[in-house]
């Protein structure tokens, strides 16, 4: 996992301009952010305008580009949850209802229960690795482009209010 992550590091700064943008602009935001922290950003944006920016999000949601990003996310996450969650629940239920089966020796002192437990560890590592890889290769770039476009559209819809 770490190896994968290390390989990732160099790339991030490269195609993730937000990383730097945030860093440089933060000091100023900080000063103003302190004065109105009681409402989250999304809400306070809403108060002033009803049409413009809200419409932008609906428009983006219907766009083909966004639907593609959403579909890619769902195509990974839904099957993955459908596998790991029943696998975990099945493990817990088997451990409680069929201790005899779980106690069956496999090799030496190692029995089915220990193998199943280690199997849970292993699948968790594999799923985490696969998800991170999928998101990095299949989703990140498209999502980032959508982010800039959406923010651009919101800014225009708001008419340079900010």
């Amino acid at each position: 996992m770490d190896k994968h992550d290390g390989g990732d590091t160099g790339e991030v700064r490269f195609d993730d301009p937000w990383y730097d943008a945030l860093a440089s602009g933060w000091g100023e935001l900080d000063g103003t952010g302190a004065l109105a922290p009681t409402v989250p950003a999304a809400r306070s944006e809403h108060e002033g305008r009803t049409g413009g920016a809200a419409h932008v999000y609906l428009e983006v949601q219907r766009s083909a580009a966004f639907r593609e990003v959403r579909a890619r996310y769902r195509r990974f996450v839904i099957p993955a949850v459908a596998v790991f969650f029943p696998w975990y629940v099945g493990y817990v239920v088997t451990a409680t209802t069929a201790p005899g089966f779980m106690a069956r020796p496999v090799a030496g002192a190692v029995n089915v229960a220990l193998l199943a437990g280690l199997g849970q560890f292993l699948t968790t590592f594999l799923f985490a690795w696969a998800y991170a890889r999928h998101a990095r290769l299949r989703r990140d770039r498209a999502a980032l482009e959508l982010r800039w476009d959406t923010q651009e559209m919101t800014r225009n819809a708001r008419g340079g209010e900010r």
């Binding site: 996992m1 770490d2 994968h4 992550d5 991030v12 937000w18 945030l22 933060w26 935001l29 900080d30 952010g33 302190a34 109105a36 922290p37 009681t38 409402v39 989250p40 950003a41 999304a42 809400r43 944006e45 809200a54 999000y57 609906l58 983006v60 966004f66 990003v69 959403r70 996310y73 949850v81 969650f85 629940v89 817990v92 239920v93 451990a95 409680t96 201790p99 779980m102 106690a103 030496g108 002192a109 190692v110 029995n111 229960a113 220990l114 437990g117 849970q120 560890f121 968790t124 590592f125 799923f127 985490a128 690795w129 991170a132 998101a135 999502a143 980032l144 959508l146 982010r147 923010q151």
Partner: protein, 530 residues
């Protein structure tokens, strides 16, 4: 066992306290005192730093002391905790981390309130966050208490109580002085210490058995007096169906609770992007997985080397198995090695408790100030008081946690954490998932989902054998036990989801399409994220 290892442990622990206080002072030297700074540490931590901090926040005294203790006493049934604690991170990684980072600002309530009528939702989510945090804090306080009574020999009540009070006071100082930035660095230091300590002990255990895991397992089974049954499930949660359902309940709570823990959720706001949040979760899965694999070795090691009788003799719930193991691995009570190793492990466990307590306190004070106070205060009050309110709230929460910690001191730490997870999974997770993924979720559904999980889970705990009706309960003298399970998760988690659904379908307001579009676009792209 005379004063040597106690003095050394106290010295090491004082050194840790000194270092962390120095960190707190250093990072807060030119603080703006803004909410961004206080709750999110400026949002500029790197994924690796945040990954260490996440695992530091998560690997609590419950894991290090409680899980190893349970394994040493009950064998395989303790191991099931470790599995649940780890698998839970897949829920966080897949469904929560990135989306929450993109939609929220400081707390869980931010995510929900972005779509809903703000006031009632914020009050509901804020309340449940505080309740979960306080339960979690109590577990850590109990861990601190049992550790110190071992350290100071005997079971001096006064020493134990003063430790709990001292830990509470320190955590208030960390949080109110240093905010998220100091808390994060403390977590990182602590995670490194804890993993380092676990590696050393694991290597020593494996060396003792010449690297032969088979031998380790066999010795543990033989020494336990249960034979091979020790290596299979059923010792603690076998037998009658109540115990079995209790275990399923716990398993469900563990895997679903993590994604609803306020102090874990607030960690995602300390990194700049959703992508960084994802990578910090991947880091923490690696670290936490490695750590739990080691706790399994340590737990069986404690059973094989120390023996369950000695563990139980020191602390009935098993919370002191690891320090005892360290004492033995170093060469026994009278040797220098044993003394040093014992002291180091005790100091690390202390550091663990302090750091986790600081993280949880910060999250709950954020819920009080950012959600509850901001929604309930009078309009004329000055908004810049929020951080000040958070500081005061951390003191209040500290006092409550100390009081409950003194009351609950004889319960197993891992078990107490299981309760906190059950409440988190019942009250926080349904509302969070519905808000992120369900198009027609409404304000009423959100409020119902929170209270529909929170109230039943707390009520079921009150009516459970934990509180009354059995010799081990908090009030053994009285009996108002009507619910058989110790962990309410099996009932209260589905109830939270069900009531949230019910509130939504019966609500008269139409779901807001535009706001759902906004949440969905923001969650998946990061547009407009702070």
């Amino acid at each position: 066992m005379s004063g040597h290892h106690q003095t050394l442990a106290l010295l090491l622990f004082s050194a840790f306290v000194a270092v962390t206080l120095a960190i707190t002072t250093w990072v807060s030297r030119n603080r703006h005192g803004s909410a961004e700074e206080f709750y999110a540490g400026g949002r500029l931590f790197s994924p690796m730093e945040n990954g260490f901090a996440l695992s530091g926040d998560y690997m609590s005294a419950a894991s290090f002391l409680g899980v190893t203790g349970l394994i040493s006493l009950y064998g395989y049934d303790g191991l099931l905790y470790a599995v649940g604690f780890l698998v839970a991170w897949l829920v966080v990684l897949f469904l929560v981390a990135e989306l929450v980072r993109n939609c929220g600002r400081f707390t869980l309530a931010d995510v929900v309130a972005a779509r809903m009528d703000e006031r009632p939702v914020r009050i509901a989510a804020g309340t449940s966050s505080v309740v979960v945090s306080v339960l979690y804090l109590v577990a850590q306080m109990v861990g601190a208490g049992s550790l110190v009574s071992l350290l100071l020999g005997g079971t001096s009540d006064a020493a134990r109580n003063w430790t709990v009070i001292g830990v509470g006071a320190l955590m208030v100082i960390y949080v109110s002085m240093g905010g998220m930035r100091a808390t994060t660095w403390i977590q990182i230091v602590k995670a490194v210490l804890l993993i380092g300590g676990a590696v050393v002990l694991t290597v020593l255990v494996l060396m003792r058995f010449h690297g032969d895991i088979n031998d380790l397992l066999r010795s543990a089974a033989r020494r336990s007096g249960h034979g091979t049954a020790f290596l299979a499930p059923g010792l603690k949660y076998g037998g009658d169906w109540t115990a079995r359902f209790d275990f399923m309940s716990l398993g469900l709570a563990l895997v679903l609770g993590t994604a609803g823990l306020p102090h874990i959720l607030s960690r995602f706001y300390t990194v700049p992007t959703a992508r960084a949040a994802r990578r910090s979760v991947v880091w923490s899965i690696g670290l936490i997985g490695g750590f739990y694999l080691m706790t399994i070795v340590l737990g069986f090691g404690a059973a094989a080397v120390v023996g369950p009788e000695a563990v139980r003799g020191s602390n009935a719930a098993g919370n002191t198995a690891v320090p005892l193991l360290a004492l033995d691995l170093g060469g026994g009570a009278d040797s220098t090695g044993g003394t040093v190793l014992f002291a180091v492990v005790a100091a690390i466990a202390f550091a663990t408790i302090l750091a986790v307590v600081a993280g949880v306190t910060l999250a709950s004070s954020a819920a009080v100030a950012h959600d509850l106070y901001a929604s309930l205060r009078r309009r004329r009050a000055k908004p810049h008081g929020e951080v000040a309110v958070a500081r005061v709230a951390s003191v209040g929460i500290g006092v409550i946690a100390i009081a409950l910690g003194l009351l609950a001191r004889d319960l197993n730490v891992a078990f107490l954490v299981g309760l906190a997870f059950a409440v988190a999974a019942s009250a926080n997770l349904p509302v969070l998932l519905y808000s992120l993924f369900w198009r027609s979720f409404t304000t009423r559904g959100a409020v119902w989902a929170v209270y529909g999980g929170l109230v039943p889970s707390l009520l079921l705990v009150l009516l459970s054998p934990v509180v009354s009706g059995s010799p081990e309960s908090l009030f053994p003298g009285v009996d108002f036990q009507y619910f058989p399970l110790q962990n309410p998760g099996l009932v209260s988690i589905p109830l939270g989801f069900l009531v949230g659904w019910l509130g939504t379908v019966t609500s008269s307001e139409p779901p807001d399409e535009a706001k759902h579009a906004e949440i969905e676009v923001r969650a998946l792209t990061g547009a407009g994220a702070v």
